[in-house]
Symmetry: C2
């Protein structure tokens, strides 16, 4: 079970960056866990930002791979969406808004877009692939692209640590999915509410 020190650093850094964020994670902390000195890190990475970028890219690609796996499953379309939603809501190991916040604040302008690009490719692509599969079922004003983007937004708000569960008891994966698919209102009242399109 030997492991390159470089890889070990990435692994420890991933845990810390993703759990408490970029700023809150110090290079000393990472070094201490690995029982090496803090300057030793700088042999493997140019600086903290470079390490962070590598962590984010590796992490994001791994999520993308998982999502691809779910989308390729041979199950019903409803079940597939349930599995995607469940993966993102329950198994996704990071507070997504924190990650985006870190990228916003701590990463230099030039790199921000390329990181976001990688993030987007890995999260968005498999999801859009799914919504293409159900495009026939979508209302006319919503295409697979619109659906994907909105889906990612909605789910991102559920991908959190949730320290406030006392106040905001989260909806179940099933509830979130159902509301997403068919909305919150009864069909028979749509006309009365001024909801026409379909």
């Amino acid at each position: 079970m030997e492991m390159d020190m470089r890889d070990q650093i990435i692994q420890v850094a991933t845990d810390l960056f993703m759990e408490i964020g970029f700023t809150a994670t110090s290079t000393r902390q990472i070094a201490q866990i690995l029982n090496i000195s803090q300057p030793a890190l700088y042999h493997h990475f140019k600086n903290k930002e470079d390490l962070y970028i590598e962590v984010v890219i590796k992490f994001t690609r791994s999520v993308g791979k998982d999502l691809q796996t779910v989308v390729k499953q041979e199950v019903s379309l409803k079940e597939k969406l349930f599995n995607m939603t469940k993966y993102l809501h329950v198994n996704h190991p990071v507070n997504l808004s924190m990650m985006l916040h870190d990228i916003d604040q701590e990463v230099s302008e030039e790199l921000r877009y390329s990181i976001f690009r990688i993030w987007w490719d890995n999260y968005y692509s498999p999801i859009e692939e799914y919504f293409k599969q159900i495009e026939n079922y979508l209302i006319d004003d919503v295409n697979s692209s619109t659906a994907s983007r909105h889906y990612l937004r909605v789910l991102s708000s559920y991908i959190t640590e949730d320290k406030y569960q006392d106040f905001d008891e989260s909806l179940t994966v099933f509830e979130i999915m159902m509301i997403f698919l068919r909305g919150i209102t009864k069909h028979k009242y749509h006309q009365e509410l001024g909801i026409y399109y379909e």
Copy 2:
């Protein structure tokens, strides 16, 4: 137009905290804008955290007041929801996930819950008041509380600075509201997709 220095500090601090966050805002920066020395701040506030808390509370109450105004308007239920959504999406002057992230990371454990409590009261209460008004129209599995919580989640994901608009062209307020009300799928396919309840 005379103004208490204390109030001026709060005003400047609000702009900075809400735009770039707690950590990125330094007390030196606040002082500089007001042309006072950095230690002068400590005459008015015990420390940076105390200042932040006061800023968050004042800011949150103001949003709550605006939301109450919208909910009390005498317009159609659909228009009211549109106005609420528009206010939160377009006029809300802060990146909400950043604010919650700051509260998470920078505020001491004891105060975190009381701040969140205030936040919740001001955002959640008026929204739930609205969904109570349309409770009859909601599907059986969704009550006004569930609807409010989900609505806040969905909207929170749209209350951002959006530095990535190239990639993620945001939905319009109308689209967001419509998807929320009636979902993304056509009613006639609900049975085929396994969407039964209503």
